[in-house]
């Protein structure tokens, strides 16, 4: 898509979220038992967002990682508590399979979660798929407790299996619910290893986009506050201590945005440098968001040390996202390995 088409795609989503996913909504959904708002989800489905990356044949928009990433920048900015990322990854995992789940995902009628396992596991689970049977537990699976279907994505391919048990976890970032998912049932392979790898890349790019978007928004909020808040007879943003932090954070958040968008492009193009680009986005966006969130609290001062101020919601999201799909040290290591292979 051209930049103007992307803008036209993103704009109604941003408007919907401004209206239906304001801070008060986020707090309400956070405080709810499931962390999921079915009405909001239907409204997103109404814009086609739930089917963004679902094949057109299954009623989706059939778009790529580039468009997904841009939509998730907006979702991240609003701290959207909804299974959007999981659904997009599921759609990538099932692309071209004609699975009936795809149409239900596009329509927003069903919710999918994705458990990475085997060679694609970052979180210490022990799921094995062997002899058409899945056993073991996948850890920290986003949205699993509200999902109608849980895909198992391993180094060998994509599988569907009925989970034996889904145990919701008490999470630090209550805008993204996680669960441990135990398997002990037949597993049906629905896509190959290439689809699984692509699903992994889409997950990372989507998360990176969320982080970049959240960092941008939080920095804007912080800069606005620094313009308006006066101490010592001056806007605090006129003090170099605050101004220079803001400048440094702009570099972080713009770099994150560049990295996430470039990785999305490379995933769509299947470019040879793709693995490095995805790894770079994974750690650069995670680190940038953590730093922006941390420094934003410092720049606000006391007001951001309160529960009522939204800054800590961003910090929680930032800290959690930085551990969800492998940590930054892990991805820096992968980045260097990918560069070595290129060199």
């Amino acid at each position: 898509m051209q930049e103007n088409e992307i803008a036209a795609l993103v704009e109604p989503v941003a408007r919907l979220l401004a209206d239906r996913c304001a801070e008060a909504d986020v707090r309400r959904i956070m405080a709810s038992e499931t962390g999921h708002d079915a009405d909001l989800w239907r409204a997103l489905a109404g814009l086609g967002v739930t089917g963004l990356t679902v094949d057109e044949a299954a009623g989706g928009l059939g778009l790529g990682a580039v468009e997904l990433e841009r939509v998730l920048e907006v979702a991240g900015a609003a701290l959207l508590p909804a299974p959007l990322l999981s659904g997009a990854v599921a759609a990538a995992a099932l692309a071209g399979t004609g699975e009936p789940l795809l149409a239900a995902l596009a329509a927003g009628e069903r919710v999918a979660a994705v458990a990475f396992a085997g060679a694609l596991d970052w979180s210490g689970g022990d799921v094995r798929v062997a002899g058409a049977r899945a056993t073991g537990t996948a850890r920290f699976v986003p949205d699993a407790a509200v999902a109608d279907a849980i895909l198992l994505v391993t180094g060998d391919g994509v599988f569907l299996s009925e989970p034996a048990r889904v145990v919701p976890l008490p999470v630090f970032d209550r805008t993204r619910r996680l669960a441990d998912v135990a398997f002990d049932a037949p597993a049906r392979q629905v896509a190959d290893a290439a689809a699984a790898a692509r699903a992994r890349d889409v997950a990372l790019v989507a998360l990176a986009g969320e982080q970049a978007g959240a960092a941008q928004r939080l920095l804007e909020m912080t800069v606005d506050y620094a313009r308006e808040r006066h101490q010592f007879g001056r806007a605090i943003g006129s003090f170099q201590a605050v101004k220079h932090m803001a400048a440094d954070l702009l570099l972080e958040s713009e770099s994150a945005t560049s990295a996430a968008r470039d990785a999305a492009r490379q995933v769509d193009e299947g470019a040879p440098g793709g693995e490095a680009a995805v790894a770079l986005a994974a750690f650069a966006c995670a680190d940038a968001f953590v730093r922006v969130a941390a420094d934003s609290i410092q720049m606000h001062g006391g007001i951001a040390f309160t529960w009522e101020h939204p800054a800590h919601l961003y910090l929680r999201r930032a800290r959690s996202g930085a551990q969800l799909y492998g940590d930054s040290d892990w991805w820096r290591e992968r980045y260097l390995s990918a560069l070595e292979e290129q060199a």
Partner: protein, 395 residues
């Protein structure tokens, strides 16, 4: 009196009065701790360096420490409040008349609860920008405004309050310092939830509350310098107030907690982990060495520049330790709650580190103080120093 004689006298008094605990049995209707503290006060041990007319014994600082040491050996509380009791020191220095006599005695016996009414939503780093107003009425002042970051407001009898009493002079010159009676209509205390979800602090809404004439401390419109004295006490203890892990399940205590945690996580053999754990432990160790050196320099009578660095150092230590804990736990840090104490610790510490890096003056304000007061660098131009407060942009 020789040091030996003094120590002997204190020990004899303690042997005669201190039973190893506060006197529960003889204190129907009164707080047993207050009963004990009153005894200590009346014996002159509460404030041994103060004049005899003010519950003291006119001792030197060094002799005062002997008194404190004897109490510490016995495990008895209450001695040496001339060094540690913010409230009593402030009242002695700045209150007047009968109120001074009453309140000092009560404060030394812990008979009244206190809180601080300094910060406001619009006056955090810049305390001189307070907008809470105290308007003169018959027999005293009527106070209206809002205060934040108050500890213990719900149980306090008095709040040490700064409020504006003149709006037509530059901001530092129109502030007065009061003991505000808290238990009256017009004072509403609400819990203030912190970033961690806890509520250690309050917001205090003041709507026409009354302060009697003699509850003014220091001169009218001279509150800024009273406040400076009071803040000096606070700063000197700030470095020690940083809290440890919430769970209490930290394994090894103190400096080596990170080492223990890394071992427990099975990651102590990873070179990248080892570098980070070592550096975090080192920062804490260096701060301890600085503190020890500062104390030695002070003991030798030379003033120490190092003392002012502790809060800034601690801020870096706490943020970095939280980061290293998170790194060690990896996805394990996604959790919280009592069933996941390691994650609870890492996340709590990451949030609570701002208590040190923001509370009691942000790191940025602290760097100003170090730059200006320790290194002698010039202040920034102060745009509001000479402007009537009415015309200052604030909030």
């Amino acid at each position: 009196m020789t040091d030996e004689q003094l120590t002997a006298e204190v020990e004899a008094w303690l042997a005669a009065h201190w039973t190893g605990a506060e006197p529960h049995h003889e204190s129907f209707g009164r707080d047993p701790r207050s009963v004990w503290l009153a005894e200590v006060r009346d014996a002159g041990w509460a404030v041994p360096r103060w004049p005899a007319a003010w519950h003291g014994r006119d001792l030197s600082d060094a002799q005062g420490r002997l008194v404190e040491a004897a109490f510490a050996r016995a495990g008895a509380p209450g001695a040496g409040q001339d060094r540690t009791n913010l409230w009593a020191n402030t009242a002695l220095a700045h209150a007047t008349g009968e109120f001074r006599r009453t309140i000092v005695a009560q404060l030394l016996a812990g008979e009244v609860g206190m809180c601080l009414l300094y910060s406001e939503p619009g006056a955090g780093s810049d305390l001189a920008a307070v907008r809470t107003r105290a308007d003169k009425v018959e027999g005293g002042w009527r106070v209206t405004g809002q205060k934040v970051w108050t500890s213990g407001a719900a149980v306090a009898d008095y709040g040490m309050l700064i409020a504006r009493t003149d709006w037509d002079v530059p901001k530092h010159r129109g502030i007065s310092f009061f003991f505000l009676p808290m238990k009256q209509d017009g004072v509403t205390v609400r819990p203030l939830h912190q970033i961690t979800g806890e509520a250690h602090f309050n917001e205090v809404f003041i709507d026409g509350a009354f302060v009697p004439e003699d509850h003014l401390l220091g001169p009218l419109n001279g509150g800024w310098s009273v406040l400076q004295t009071a803040l000096a006490y606070e700063r000197s203890v700030m470095g020690d107030r940083a809290r440890g892990p919430r769970s209490g399940a930290g394994g090894a205590k103190g400096d080596l907690a990170l080492l223990a945690l890394a071992r427990e996580a099975g990651r102590l053999d990873e070179p990248v982990v080892r570098q980070q754990v070592a550096q975090a432990i080192a920062w804490r160790a260096l701060n301890a060495l600085n503190t020890r050196r500062a104390k030695a320099e002070l003991a030798q009578g030379s003033s120490s520049a190092i003392m002012s660095l502790g809060k800034l150092a601690m801020s870096r230590i706490l943020h970095e330790e939280a980061r290293v804990r998170t790194m060690l736990l990896r996805a394990g840090s996604l959790l919280e709650g009592p069933e996941h104490p390691r994650a609870e610790d890492a996340n709590f510490l990451a949030l609570n580190a701002y208590f040190t890096s923001i509370g009691g003056g942000t790191d940025q304000i602290q760097r100003n103080i170090i730059g200006e007061r320790v290194l002698g660098l010039p202040k920034e131009p102060e745009v509001d120093r000479t402007v009537p407060f009415r015309e200052v942009k604030a909030g």
